[in-house]
């Protein structure tokens, strides 16, 4: 009986060891934690500006349009001889930071003449703290940073502001593919029926160039495979559409684009 016990134990441990070893020899990938914004009462302008710059240049996808000079006004460089955004927004009647904040949550409020209304509501992909961090960064581009923790707290309690906890951005309910492409500012970078800028591959004829599978991957994970000829724009497309769109909406867009021969 002793020998039987040993055999049973050996078989059990061998099976466990087999699976454990397999799991060790495959690639080891951790899911890193995105750096959290600590915007408590004592937050310094430097912290806000650094966080805002990271968002502006990275995850928020602002540089997809701002900086090209074709689809949105330049912010980091001069626009119409008025200087950078930090320099020129000081002349705004309501105050620089108030103007910038409102422009981000209600892009239609201060539309600059000559540019299409393609900017999405920033609350759909950024938390309230993140929006204020971007505002602070924009102020720092030639102006004085006036954003404080009080601004963040005050706007977070306003009825129209999104939840401050980083809750999922509100999704639009439409199922019209063209409206979805417009609302999500896709047409700002991809041409559809001649409209839009050629920052990314054109939607026209996309179905004849790549498969629906590839289109889907490209929307959810833009970095997975960069289209030939667009390497210079790698990293500009936000990787947030997988969260912004429902599965049904994503499929509608994928099928719409795949059908464009």
């Amino acid at each position: 009986m002793f020998l039987t016990n040993i055999k049973v134990l050996a078989v059990g441990l061998a099976v466990i060891a087999f699976y454990t070893i397999i799991a060790q020899v495959i690639p080891q990938l951790e899911s890193e934690v995105p750096e959290a914004l600590d915007l408590s009462a004592g937050v310094t302008p430097e912290v806000l500006v650094t966080a805002g710059e990271d968002l502006f240049m990275g995850g928020a996808g602002c540089t997809s349009c701002h900086g090209l000079g074709t689809r949105a006004p330049n912010l980091r460089t001069d626009h119409a001889g008025e200087g950078t955004i930090g320099e020129r927004c000081g002349s705004r009647e309501q105050g620089c930071k108030e103007y910038l904040y409102e422009s981000m949550i209600d892009p239609g409020a201060y539309l600059i003449e000559g540019f299409p209304p393609i900017m999405p509501d920033a609350r759909r992909q950024l938390s309230n703290e993140q929006i204020w961090a971007v505002v602070a960064y924009l102020e720092s581009l030639g102006g004085e940073v006036t954003v404080t923790a009080d601004d963040i707290g005050a706007s977070a309690s306003a009825p129209s502001a999104p939840a401050s906890s980083g809750a999922a951005p509100a999704r639009t309910a439409t199922t019209d593919p063209v409206q979805l492409l417009t609302e999500n500012a896709c047409i700002g970078c991809h041409q559809l029926e001649g409209a839009g800028a050629p920052v990314g591959p054109a939607f026209d004829g996309m179905g004849s160039r790549i498969s629906a599978d590839r289109i889907r991957t490209g929307i959810i994970d833009p970095e997975a495979e960069i289209a030939e000829g667009y390497e210079a724009f790698a990293g500009m497309m936000p990787a947030t559409f997988g969260d912004q769109l429902s599965a049904a909406q994503l499929e509608i867009i994928v099928q719409f684009l795949a059908a464009r021969q």
Binding site: V15, Y19, A167, A168, D243
Partner: protein, 573 residues
């Protein structure tokens, strides 16, 4: 008193500290172990009553005492396992309140009422179990027996409700109602019920119900396998051989439908959050599914090996044995296809060498078309093994026997051809169409299983026997296959637990409550595998102890002097 207790826990949670630490394994490790071992015991005590009640019913209707004895033996294991479940549940509760007080406070804010109901139901469930087990010999016949069976049914009802409530808490962590915040809890107009009945609640409920039956069956079969190896008499060997077969059969039969519940759960996750779905299937967890494929491949191989070995004790079944090597070949080829990665995270140099994110040749096998086809072939092959096992010692006597067998064969051929054709054609259609093919493939396989099975029932009515199954005449190695099944099912449960919990990444509650501790990083599979193995060793070690306790109690009963005029019992059970 219960309310006082929860208030105390709530107060601990609100003490202002967000995280505690635990020696050696850290706070997360401690909660991981307690939660997983508790879950494994919970699955056992929910799964075993399911077929205790089914086998008791078979015994009543078929007037076969063997099933009644089997059912009672299952239930005896439950009495001990319930204590272990409660102990680990208590351990988990205290670890959560001391190591994650802020998180616990948030959960208690939303779910306090359901927590009280949960605790109350656990009492009711325990008392029902005691009545069910200790009343077994008292309510043994006639209407009282049906009443006793009703208690077993009630035990399942309580257990299912308890599980559904706990599932509400954990699925809330994955898919909370929109607008929920840490500061204000549920938004206006959203009730606790809405938080429980969230997007992933029912898929998890169904998935766990089925998985519990699988798990319970495999653990009971392992118990029987051990008793078989330790048996001293042919009668004991025969009984435990048969018990091991019943347990394994239930585990495999229910396991076959588990992937369908998994698909549903995955779809709901995608529907709730694309990001979560992508993380699960294509992000840092993509390799997890390769490990899962390896485990499930082992399950199919071990189950088929057990059936093939079992044919050695069935007179006449040797005529099927030459086919088994081809079936083994099919299983291995399908296993390899299923284990082929699709796209994976690789370095730029590796991508350049492959010419893309997919391997130029093997990448084809990694697509869902190939994988789904492979899985369906493995299911069909396993069903064929079972059919051969079932028909081993029988000679049909109905006049339409030949036509019936040919029809069954045709159903196998047609469904296999259809599955293969869809698998190949799937490479030439858009993804959205290809996904729908997996449903047709599954439907074809299920139709084949149901159709062949239905025909077989009528075909074998009044059949002649080539000889009785020689229960107990099983080689010992077949019993080790049962151990492999039990260990693999347990490890698989730990792996899937990591997948479900890990996709939340650095969120306690998805996009509502962030994990701000220094252990918020979701670990890689290597670390996760170490934790899973540790929990499996703890669980199986405790189960072995419980089995040993059961044996002790049994020996004590069998040593009692028999009443005058009745023979002394040789063994219990």
């Amino acid at each position: 008193m219960m309310i006082d207790f929860l208030t105390l826990l709530q107060a601990a949670a609100e003490a202002g500290r967000s995280y505690g630490d635990f020696p050696a394994v850290g706070g997360r490790g401690a909660v991981w172990i307690a939660a997983e071992v508790h879950l494994m015991f919970a699955a056992f005590v929910l799964g075993v009553p399911m077929f205790a009640v089914i086998t008791e019913l078979i015994g009543i209707v078929g007037k076969d005492e063997r099933y009644d004895k089997l059912s009672k033996e299952f239930t005896r294991l439950l009495v001990f396992a319930y204590s272990a479940t409660a102990l680990w549940g208590g351990m988990l509760l205290f670890l959560l309140t001391t190591l994650y007080p802020a998180f616990w406070g948030h959960m208690a804010d939303i779910f306090s009422m359901s927590m009280w109901i949960y605790a109350g139901l656990f009492f009711v469930e325990s008392f029902t179990l005691y009545l069910y087990y200790y009343g077994w010999d008292r309510w043994k016949s006639g209407r009282a027996k049906w009443g006793h069976w009703g208690l077993g049914l009630l035990l399942n009802v309580w257990g299912t409700i308890v599980m559904f409530i706990a599932n509400g808490w954990l699925t809330y962590m994955m898919s909370p109602p929109e607008g929920t915040t840490v500061a204000e809890g549920l938004p206006d107009g959203v009730t606790m019920w809405n938080a429980i009945a969230n997007a992933t609640w029912m898929p998890i409920n169904i998935h766990r119900l089925i998985a519990n039956a699988v798990f319970g069956g495999s653990i009971v079969a392992a118990y029987a396998a051990y008793r078989f190896l330790a048996a001293k008499t042919p009668e004991e060997k025969a009984h435990y051989d048969w018990m091991g077969y019943v347990g394994t059969f239930i585990a495999i039969a229910t396991f076959v439908v588990l992937p369908f519940a998994g698909y549903w759960l995955g779809r709901e996750m995608y529907e709730y959050s694309q990001q979560m779905g992508v993380t699960m299937m294509g992000g840092f967890m993509s390799w997890l599914w390769i490990v899962q494929a390896i485990l499930i491949g082992v399950l199919f191989l071990a189950a088929n090996y057990y059936l093939w070995t079992g044919m050695g004790r069935i007179p006449g079944a040797e005529r099927f044995l030459p086919y088994t090597k081809w079936m083994l070949l099919v299983l291995i080829v399908c296993w390899i296809v299923w284990g082929t990665p699709n796209t994976m995270i690789a370095s730029r140099d590796e991508f350049a060498a492959m010419g893309g994110s997919r391997h130029p040749f093997l990448g084809v096998l990694g697509l869902m078309s190939g994988k789904n086809t492979a899985v369906n072939f493995m299911i069909l092959t396993t069903f064929l093994s079972f059919l051969m096992y079932r028909r081993g010692n029988r000679i049909p006597t109905v006049t339409w026997a030949k036509a019936g067998t040919l029809t069954q064969g045709a159903m196998f051929v047609l469904s296999s051809a259809y599955v293969l054709w869809l698998g190949i054609y799937g490479y030439f259609v858009p993804t959205i169409t290809r996904i729908s093919y997996s449903v047709y493939q599954v439907a074809a396989v299920l139709a084949c299983i149901i159709g062949v099975w239905a025909i077989d029932i009528f075909l074998m009515r009044g059949s002649q026997s080539r000889g009785e199954i020689r229960w107990g005449e099983m080689p010992d190695r077949s019993q080790y296959a049962i151990f492999v099944l039990a260990v693999t099912f347990t490890w698989l449960m730990g792996l899937m637990g990591f997948a479900r919990s890990g996709i939340r990444q650095h969120w306690h509650v998805w996009e509502v409550m962030r994990d701000t501790s220094d252990r918020a990083v979701t670990p890689a599979l290597g670390y996760a595998a170490n934790m899973i193995s540790l929990t499996v060793v703890i669980f199986l070690g405790l189960v072995a102890f419980i089995f040993w306790l059961g044996g002790l109690a049994e020996r004590a009963v069998s040593k009692k002097p028999a009443p005058i005029g009745q023979p002394q019992a040789v063994t219990g059970g």
